[in-house]
Amino acid sequence: MAENAALEGLLARTALGDRNAFAELYRATSSKLFAVSLRIVRERPLAEEVLQDSFVNIWRRSSDYAAARSAPLTWMTAIVRNRSLDIVRRTREEPDVDDALATNLADESAAPARDAETRQQSHSIQQCLEELDAEQRQTIALAFFHGLTHSELAAHLKKPLGTVKTHVRRGLAKLRDCLMAKGVQ
């Protein structure tokens, strides 16, 4: 994954209609973003549609990026996750979930981010997640990686809906306190 500053430059040039910069931005980020979407929508044709729509959106909204005040990958990930959550179709009763990812918070084969700033950010959130109760952590990780709704979380974890909602709410509140203490939030 390219460095933050390089991605910022590519986004800024994309905002000025530079197609080569846009192509480079796609090359640098699409495999990660495709994987993020695939975890949520689960079917490749849907993930392809998400990636396509998201990059058309990134092209059109790249001039808003300067005002977004977030890291380029954070901004692009938000666009991809949003689109994934919009079009996810659940045909199966039981969502097909990778519990290992939710437990370890990372795929074994995922290479750590190369640049220090991105690594630091992902390190902070991982550390804070590890400070949560096991149940809260698992619930939040499943929601993030797989885009499960409250009721899908309840079905998967075999817990009452109310309990799951409490885990999410309390987990997020604790997460915020921890991230604030680290100066991330």
Binding site: F34, Q52, S63
Partner: protein, 226 residues
């Protein structure tokens, strides 16, 4: 709907996490669009949570995805039917014709320019021409001005080979020329590859980077090798 601070924070968090769904998500999104503080709260949560996505192992998407994206962001071509096609070729060739014409008209005192860039709008129509002339002046010639918009002006950007665009200042939105003094070895232009113009507040972009829509852009055609 008036929400308490706590409720806004909690909704923003569940929105970023993805557990806020369906109609509640749609409602929240429309609130966010008109509520700057709420948008910032969401951005703060996204900044905190989204780095988790780094943990997912990359999957290469098939090549057809990029081809489809390219087709969707391509500038609209005037004329799909065969009847319109000759006009489309004229529009596409217009920038080249204009460039040739300008090179010809530059054969006047002051000499031929070092480089010329014809900036075209997304519909391929040439709108401005930027040229670097001896001795050390950058000329911006308006071909076709835009409808004036209250409090807004045109900001000229130069794109270096690497890195972010840099502002060259505001240019007039009227027929005629804006002339800027600029040394040939000025780092802003010496390794420039393209120019673009965006719509910004009269005082210039508040962020130092383009924030408004890009009205026209074009790459540099060298005329004389230095």
């Amino acid at each position: 709907m008036k929400l308490s601070r706590e409720a806004r924070e909690a909704l923003a968090a569940e929105f970023a996490l993805g557990t806020l769904r369906g109609r509640a998500r749609a409602r929240f999104e429309s609130m966010r669009a008109s509520d700057r503080a709420l948008a910032e709260t969401v951005a703060r949560w996204e900044t905190a949570i989204n780095p988790l996505a780094q943990g997912v192992a990359a999957v290469e998407p098939p090549a057809r995805v990029w081809r489809a994206i390219e087709a969707r962001v391509a500038p609209p071509r005037p004329g799909i039917s065969s009847y319109w096609r000759p006009f489309a070729i004229v529009a596409g060739g217009m920038a080249t014709v204009l460039l040739a014409f300008l090179l010809w008209t530059f054969q006047v005192p002051g000499g031929e320019p070092d480089f010329v860039a014809v900036l075209t709008a997304p519909d391929n129509v040439p709108r401005m021409v930027v040229s670097m002339n001896q001795p050390g002046t950058l000329k911006v010639r308006m071909v076709k001005p835009w409808k004036a918009k209250e409090g807004m002006g045109l900001e000229l950007w130069v794109m270096p080979k690497d890195g972010k665009p840099r502002s060259l200042g505001m240019v007039k939105n009227e027929m005629g020329e804006t002339v800027m003094r600029m040394a040939h070895e000025d780092p802003r232009v010496s390794n420039a590859v393209a120019f673009a113009v965006s719509m910004e507040p009269m005082a210039g972009s508040p962020t130092g980077q383009p924030t408004g829509p890009v009205l026209c852009s074009g790459s540099i055609a060298p005329v004389r090798s230095a």
